[in-house]
């Protein structure tokens, strides 16, 4: 697991508390986690266990109550909003449950969005290359409403990869898809880590999709309760969940 040395994500004592007094909720409770380069990690756990909060904090979309996060050795706490925005744009890719494509832009325009924000002259070409890699070479100029759910999610993945990020964060990427499309997306995300060398952190409820990952992190009540390697079989995540009493 430490064959590739550089750690992309380093989290230490990460705590997030919402509200105060009686309404006080500890969403994350002193979590430590390290994700090396090119690893595909899936996070599972019951609703409210803190997995989405973890993802938001990692993406710099929310600020922690305590603890630290570093992406490629850069502590997020030190960054002003504009630098954080820039970091998100260049080093982190997002894949959302609801795809979140801009409805009035075509596939290639959506995929090239972060590059264009960065002022990249070759934005469209690079986005086209990524769309071809994720299997959408023939649908470049279709708008989201002319694509199936699975295809839309492929556009979202191409968008996440277009800036060559170090880390891809995926929040329930298959939650809105039929099982066939879900499997294809799971496979594609594995490809993202194994072939294209990005670290992937995915939150999911679906043990079958989780099985595409190399590593499984199980959470409950804001804490990591188990952290294990997966063997690629569909049964492995389910067995782990049962063992941890999460099923």
């Amino acid at each position: 697991m430490t064959a590739k040395t550089a750690a992309i994500v380093e989290i230490a004592g990460l705590t997030k508390v919402y509200g105060s007094g009686e309404a006080r909720v500890t969403a994350l409770d002193a979590v430590d986690l390290v994700v090396p380069e090119g690893q595909f990690v899936t996070v599972m756990g019951p609703s409210g266990c803190g997995k989405s909060t973890l993802l938001n904090l990692l993406g710099g979309l929310d600020t922690p109550t305590a603890g630290s996060i570093s992406i490629e050795s850069q502590p997020l706490a030190d960054l002003p909003d504009d630098r954080l925005t820039e970091l998100r744009r260049r080093r982190i890719g997002f894949v959302f449950q609801f795809f979140n494509l801009i409805p009035v832009l075509s596939a290639v325009e959506n995929a090239s969005l972060p590059l264009r924000l960065d002022g990249d002259k070759d934005a469209e070409e690079r986005a086209t290359a990524w769309l071809e890699r994720v299997g959408l070479g023939t649908r470049l100029h279709n708008r989201p409403d002319q694509l199936s759910g699975g295809q839309q999610q492929r556009v979202a993945i191409a968008r996440a990869l277009s800036t060559e990020p170090a880390l891809v964060l995926a929040d329930e990427p298959t939650g809105n898809l039929d099982s066939k499309s879900a499997t294809e997306i799971g496979d594609l995300l594995r490809q993202v880590s194994t072939e294209w060398g990005r670290s992937v952190l995915m939150v999911t409820h679906d043990p079958r999709i989780a099985s595409f990952a190399q590593r499984l992190v199980l959470m409950r009540d804001g804490r990591i309760v188990d952290d294990l390697s997966l063997d690629g079989t569909h049964e492995a995540p389910r067995t782990a969940l049962e063992k941890a009493g999460l099923l």
Binding site: F96, L113, P114, L117
Partner: protein, 842 residues
């Protein structure tokens, strides 16, 4: 930035219907500001063109300050000024043409008779003879005129032209026709000076001197020098009647600009509302854009660019629509102007200021209205993209602004109590802004209160509608404000029109209460009327069946440097056939007082101009020198409602102004006399006086009202144009609120609401919003209307404020009908929502 533009443009196109509604609001606003302001310059241009083309090479015109004929020695005085090259004495008066019974309604009713001094006139005007010959010295019964005018009159060389004279009629033979083109309103026929003097009974006196300057003369300095050489009895320059006309046009310009600004402000609210909803709808998109690394500034830029696109497109279309509106209105009033005022108005004219202000306002209002929503969009956090949408966010942030609004409303009340037109006008605007600020805070309580009657008609759906409306007071307030602005401007216009109309009919009824009127055909234009000697009144009195007869005589005076019209009445008979509309504190006793010496009655305009109180001394400069009069009372009559006027006894008029001719006769029938016989007998008397027309009062009144009503078309068009933006505001807000609640409506349908119930719910919400907006609009509009009437009075168009009852009812009905109309589309689409799709809607 290019990305912002791309996104803005794509979103704009992607939401076609919405963009169209919003842009249409801008179009209407720009159309009103631009179009209305294009009409006035066209009219002013028509007037000045009219005057200029008649003027020839004339640099300066001298007339009597009292509109009296004067001695020809003025010419030699004028020539003492070194820069004056030529001075030509002349007579210029209007003469009515005898009207044949079968003449078409638009037949020429009068011509301007010009007596020219043959030796000097040719140096100032061209008289290119096309056929026949020019006038020659000693031609006492000859006339020349332009060929086109002769054609209109059906005359050829050798024919005779019959003109009314003081003692009957006079005939002139057409000896020549000229090649000049006649300007409408300047239909001139030329006589030799002695012939004209004889026609009008002037002796050797003249009515004007025209002069040209040496080529190197400084125009302003020369005019000054001439004025100094001639003294205060003469008027140098243009016609004094122009200034009152221009003052009226300025008021119209002010009102037009105000309506345009109102329409644009309404558009601003529509745009702000539209963008608020757009931001709410795109929260997920914005969140995602932020998540993938878009800066706040880029997001703001995107919305501002979108508003800029709409502003530019809307303004461009608005300019086109405004041009069309101006052209349409001008052609609508053009025929009236041509027949009543003898003015030919060209196409609409747009000054650079109109272009600049319309474009700046159109684009500016749109972008400014989008600033607040755009900033809100910039504040959307990336996390919004991760969450499923929870629906609209309850907003509650109205406290401080509401109190500011209350303070403004209170402050404006003080403005109202001052009675100063400026402060009343300012107060009206402050009042309006105050109301707009208070609206968000009071919408909920008002909705609460108003929903009780609503629930009577809409039962449970009414309750749901009310809570929908209360859940988002910000949006409700914007709709209410947009409706308020739209309707306020309508109520203001209606108030103004009602007041003008009421003042008009009051004067009309009171001052012309006699049974018969004998009026020269151009009575309202004070100058150049042909008057009658005492014989006409005597002949009328002698007609069997005629009771009291009273006459009016007219002279001009100046008082403290301003012109005033002096009307001579007979105190013994005036009140038997006419009446004054008295201002408070004055009574009919004032008329009796005129018998007792130099007393006068002032009309409202004159009294306001000089801040007069009853009993005060007034200096009038008369042809016989300054005279001191005292004010007996303040009262108004119809004919002089628009002119600064004083009334005194005919005895005073004779003594101080040398005027003895009757300009207008009023007569009553005796009880029991047969109307038909009396009229026939009167007709026979009047036949000998072609300058005069006999009216039975009811027909004169009807004729006046008809003319007046035809000009009302302009106001009707205006009201429709003003009402449209408020309809748009309602449709827009409702459509938006339905779109924004798609999911909620789907849920209602899923748990068992029928299509009918959903439709009724949307309808009830619309009705509630429009009722509140209408009430607000009515209250603010009444004030604004009052301010407008006060402003008109301040510039000299006195009229009593009349409460626009029927207009108010009409406006309220329009507001409520619009509320229902606006809801039809959105209610249908809400009730037809596919439940499953609606529930899945993000």
């Amino acid at each position: 930035m290019t990305l912002s533009l791309t996104l803005a443009w794509r979103y704009l196109r992607g939401r076609g219907a919405r963009s169209l509604l919003t842009t249409l609001a801008v179009v209407l606003g720009v159309m009103l500001t631009f179009g209305l302001n294009g009409i006035l310059p066209a009219m002013v241009e028509a007037f000045t063109h009219n005057l200029l083309s008649a003027a020839g090479k004339v640099d300066l015109t001298v007339t009597s300050a009292y509109n009296q004929p004067f001695k020809p020695d003025v010419v030699s005085k004028l020539l003492t000024v070194p820069q004056v090259a030529t001075a030509s004495p002349g007579v210029q008066r209007t003469a009515p043409l005898p009207r044949s019974a079968d003449a078409p309604a638009d037949a020429l009713a009068q011509v301007i008779v010009v007596g020219i001094d043959l030796a000097t006139a040719a140096k100032l005007h061209d008289f290119p003879v096309a056929s026949g010959r020019m006038l020659a010295a000693g031609d006492n019964a000859a006339v020349v005129m332009n060929t086109d005018l002769a054609g209109e009159l059906g005359l050829r060389v050798g024919d005779q032209l019959v003109l009314p004279a003081a003692g009957g009629t006079a005939r002139f033979r057409v000896v020549g026709l000229l090649g000049n083109v006649t300007v409408p309103g300047q239909e001139q026929v030329y006589l030799t000076l002695p012939a004209a003097q004889q026609l009008f009974g002037l002796g050797n006196r003249i009515t004007q001197v025209e002069a040209s300057f040496t080529p190197d003369a400084d125009r302003a300095a020369t005019e000054k020098a001439v004025a100094a050489a001639l003294g205060p009895d003469y008027q140098v320059g243009g016609l004094s009647s122009e200034s009152t006309l221009l003052a009226s046009l300025q008021v119209a310009e002010f009102a037009f600009t105000m309506f345009g600004v109102f329409a644009l402000a309404t558009a601003g609210f529509i745009i702000a509302n539209s963008f608020r909803t757009v931001v709410a709808e795109r929260r997920r998109d914005i969140g995602m854009l932020r998540a993938v690394g878009t800066r706040r500034r880029t997001i703001m830029g995107m919305f501002l660019a979108e508003s800029l696109f709409q502003g530019v497109i809307g303004t461009a279309l608005g300019l086109v629509a405004g041009w069309l509106m101006a052209a349409g209105l001008i052609s609508a009033v053009g025929s009236i102007a041509e027949s009543v005022m003898h003015l030919r108005i060209g196409g609409p004219l747009f000054t650079p200021a109109t272009w600049i202000s319309s474009i700046a306002l159109g684009i500016g209002v749109t972008v400014v209205a989008a600033v607040v929503p755009a900033r809100a969009a910039g504040r959307v956090t990336p996390l919004e993209a991760m969450r499923p949408q929870l629906g609209e966010v309850y907003e509650r942030r109205v406290g401080r602004r509401a109190w500011l609004g209350v303070a403004m409303v209170v402050a404006s009340l003080f403005g109202l109590t001052t009675g100063s037109p400026g402060l009343i006008g300012l107060g009206a605007v402050v009042f309006l802004i105050g109301f707009a600020l208070v609206a968000p805070a009071v919408v909920n309580p008002i909705a609460q209160w108003a929903s009780r009657p609503l629930e009577l008609f809409f039962s449970r759906e009414g309750t749901i509608a009310r809570s929908n409306l209360q859940r988002n007071p910000g949006r409700s307030a914007i709709t209410v404000t947009a409706v308020m602005l739209g309707l306020a401007s309508i109520v203001a216009v209606v108030s103004m029109v009602t007041s003008i109309f009421a003042g008009f009919t009051t004067y009309l009824d009171k001052s012309l209460s006699s049974d018969y009127l004998l009026i020269p055909q151009s009575i309202v234009l004070g100058q150049g009327n042909v008057a009658a000697g005492p014989r006409l009144a005597q002949e009328v009195r002698a007609v069997p069946g005629i009771g009291p007869v009273s006459t009016l005589r007219v002279a001009q005076a100046t008082s403290n440097g301003t012109d005033v019209q002096v009307i001579g009445i007979d105190p013994d008979t005036y009140l038997q056939v006419a009446a004054f509309d008295w201002n408070s504190g004055s009574t009919d006793a004032a008329v009796g007082q005129l018998r007792t010496g130099r007393w006068l009655i002032a009309n409202g305009i004159y009294a306001a101009q000089h801040n007069l109180v009853v009993g005060q001394a007034v200096q009038l400069s008369t042809p016989n020198g300054p005279r001191t009069y005292h004010l007996a009372g303040i009262g108004n009559d119809y004919l002089n409602a628009k002119l600064s006027t004083v009334y005194t006894s005919q005895q005073n008029l004779q003594r101080d102004f040398n005027t003895t001719a009757d300009l207008l006769l009023m007569a009553n029938r005796t009880a029991g006399a047969d109307p038909a016989t009396t009229k026939a007998l009167l007709d026979r008397v009047v036949a000998g006086y072609p300058a005069f027309r006999l009216y039975e009062s009811w027909s004169w009144r009807a004729e006046q009202l008809k003319t007046f009503n035809s000009t009302m078309i302009i106001f009707d068009v205006l009201v429709v144009a003003l009402a449209l933006p408020s309809l748009l505001a309602l449709v827009n807000t409702l459509a938006i609120s339905v779109l924004a609640r798609t999911r909620e409506i789907g849920m209602l349908r899923a748990v068992g609401a029928t299509r009918r119930q959903v439709r009724r719910m949307v309808m009830a919400e619309s009705l509630l919003l429009s009722v509140i907006g209408t009430v607000f609009g009515a209250v603010t509009g009444l004030w604004l209307g009052y301010a407008l009437v006060a402003a008109m009075s301040a510039v000299g168009w006195e009229m009593p404020y009349a409460f626009p009852w029927s207009g108010l009812v009409a406006t309220v009905v329009v507001g409520i009908v619009f509320g229902v109309l606006a809801a039809v589309g959105p209610a249908r689409s809400a009730s037809r929502l596919d439940v499953v799709a609606a529930l899945h809607q993000e």
